[in-house]
């Protein structure tokens, strides 16, 4: 019986809390009229949220909704017909998949930012790049389908061809991989939690967190991630989508991207 009265008390408390948390309606005078739905690579999570805020500040009649996930997942969703306005991919391959699915006009694709790879480490088992191949180290990278995973494998290929590292390095690193994660943010989380000793992510992801050590990958082995964006052929709110697209490529958009650690002058360089 005493549990019953206890549970009644808890229930009342929950009701009270719900009352306090209920949004005070009526404050927003005009409902936003045009909703831009942005499908963006997981590594863009923080910077796109900022860009979205800045965009709606200059376009009060716009609302921006984001779907952040691994680019490969977004490309699959688009191929299955998910309604969206804009697709920002972390690599060419997944943008090509969206083009192949007929959702994107290849002529409308724009390169808007670049990032490079770094190794993030927690704990003291990985202090230098060569430690990645030390037996017993637990390493997480992105799955092959995930852009950051494909870039990580390309880095290992480059290292295998480099006499300073060689094939044993690649083999040793791959033997240490304990999980192929679904997005770059999942890789970062596993390292931050200390579940893995190290992971390979974008420099921009590592910059956003303080609790991991960052180990640079030499430029000659590093892989540039080319971020590409395109409005969809059947975009939701096409006019506002174009506005968002130009905002992203404007000096204000570039400023926010640079502040988050992305390079924007790679836009002149052509992806291979």
């Amino acid at each position: 019986m005493k549990y019953r009265s206890l549970s009644i008390c808890l229930f009342c408390l929950a009701l009270l809390c719900a009352g306090c948390l209920a949004p005070a309606d009526g404050s927003s005078s005009k409902p936003p009229t045009q909703e831009v739905v942005v499908f963006a690579a997981a590594s863009l999570t923080d910077v796109f949220a900022e860009i979205g805020t800045a965009f709606t500040a200059t376009n009060p009649q716009a609302a921006v909704t984001f779907n952040f996930a691994g680019s490969q997942q977004l490309a699959s969703q688009l191929a299955e017909g998910a309604p969206a306005s804009l697709f920002a991919s972390a690599d060419q391959r997944q943008m090509d998949a969206a083009v192949a699915a007929g959702r994107v006009d290849p002529a409308s694709v724009a390169l808007f930012a670049c990032s490079r790879l770094v190794v993030v480490a927690s704990g003291d088992r990985v202090a230098a790049l060569s430690d990645l191949a030390t037996p017993g180290v637990k390493l997480v990278i992105g799955a092959d389908a995930v852009p950051v995973g494909a870039y990580a494998l390309a880095f290992l290929d480059a290292a295998a061809a480099d006499p300073a590292y060689g094939e044993p390095f690649r083999a040793g690193v791959l033997a240490n991989v304990v999980s192929y994660e679904q997005s770059v943010r999942a890789v970062l989380s596993k390292v931050r939690l200390g579940e893995a000793d190290a992971g390979i992510v974008y420099a921009t992801d590592a910059q956003a967190v303080a609790d991991v050590a960052v180990i640079d990958i030499p430029t000659q082995l590093n892989q540039l991630a080319y971020y590409q964006v395109a409005p969809l052929r059947d975009a939701i709110a096409p006019e506002m989508t174009r506005e968002f697209f130009s905002f992203l490529l404007s000096s204000e958009g570039k400023g926010l991207l640079s502040a988050a650690g992305f390079s924007t002058d790679c836009a002149s360089a052509t992806p291979e």
Partner: protein
């Protein structure tokens, strides 16, 4: 308080409470109103079976990724099922037969994993058994590593699936007339003998059906496994994880694995209904 397993209550009542024939004319109306939901539930399964090229099923299942996933799923769920019976039966018996402080809290806790999002379970398991978790850190000092191994897969399944068995078993234990057990014990049977020769045979089918249900739930887990055990082909990539990844890499393999899971889930549910019907007669 007698707790009945929730997936049993529906069919165990329907047999006795069937409406008299006089009210049957309304059957047509009810049937019409039942149709939308039935169609909705059936449609995705039908569409999936349609899209999966059944003639190519074996080809896609022979894909190494699919084979590894099937093997890993079977191995881990078998171990999970064994652990669920071993560890779950005492809990079920305790809940069904004894009153103790905080009994209702324990009873609620047992149900919690069935309504929690599996991702929450995965995160909780990480906090407890992860390398920096409460138990994970001391275990690692002993050289036992759980994260990213098949052990993590089993733990995730155990957490998610065991309540289904415990609930079914507790319901079954509670339904036994205590006179039967008292009679046996008056005739000189020891407590263990009463349990082994009187109680257990009476609830055998209910336990088995609860086990099959919870095995099926373990087989289907995605959220807890991917968060806690990660994704590595052959080591922690179970069938649901391979389906998720296959959605992005090779849709045909994902569809083939889905067909297997649908078929096995269907067989499991039929088996449960058959076992329970058998016990009632």
């Amino acid at each position: 308080m007698k707790s009945t397993p929730f997936f049993r209550s529906a069919n165990s009542h329907s047999a006795q409470n069937r409406r008299p024939v006089a009210l049957r004319p309304s059957l047509e109306i009810w049937r019409g109103m039942a149709l939308p939901l039935l169609a909705f539930l059936l449609l995705p399964l039908a569409a999936l079976l349609w899209r999966a090229d059944l003639s190519q099923l074996w080809v896609h299942l022979a894909d190494p990724v699919a084979l590894q996933a099937i093997r890993l799923s079977l191995e881990t769920t078998t171990i999970s099922a064994f652990l669920i019976v071993l560890l779950g039966t005492p809990v079920a018996y305790l809940l069904a037969r004894y009153d103790f402080p905080l009994r209702r809290v324990v009873d609620t806790l047992i149900d919690l994993p069935t309504v929690l999002p599996p991702a929450v379970a995965g995160l909780g398991l990480l906090m407890a058994f992860g390398r920096r978790g409460w138990l994970g850190a001391p275990l690692e000092l002993l050289g036992i590593e759980i994260a990213f191994t098949a052990v993590a897969v089993v733990l995730a399944q155990l957490f998610i699936a065991s309540p289904f068995y415990v609930r079914a078993a507790a319901g079954a234990f509670a339904s036994i007339e205590s006179e039967l057990e008292q009679a046996a014990s008056l005739d000189g049977a020891s407590q263990w003998q009463v349990f082994r020769f009187i109680t257990l045979p009476l609830v055998r089918m209910s336990l088995l059906s609860g086990l099959v249900m919870s095995w099926s739930r373990a087989l289907g887990d995605f959220g807890a496994t991917i968060l806690f055990a990660g994704n590595f082909p052959g080591r922690t990539q179970t069938m649901p994880l391979a389906i998720y990844l296959g959605f992005e890499m090779d849709l045909d393999v994902a569809l083939a694995l889905s067909v297997i899971l649908i078929a096995s889930a269907f067989l499991v549910l039929m088996l449960v209904k058959w076992l329970l019907a058998g016990e009632r007669e």
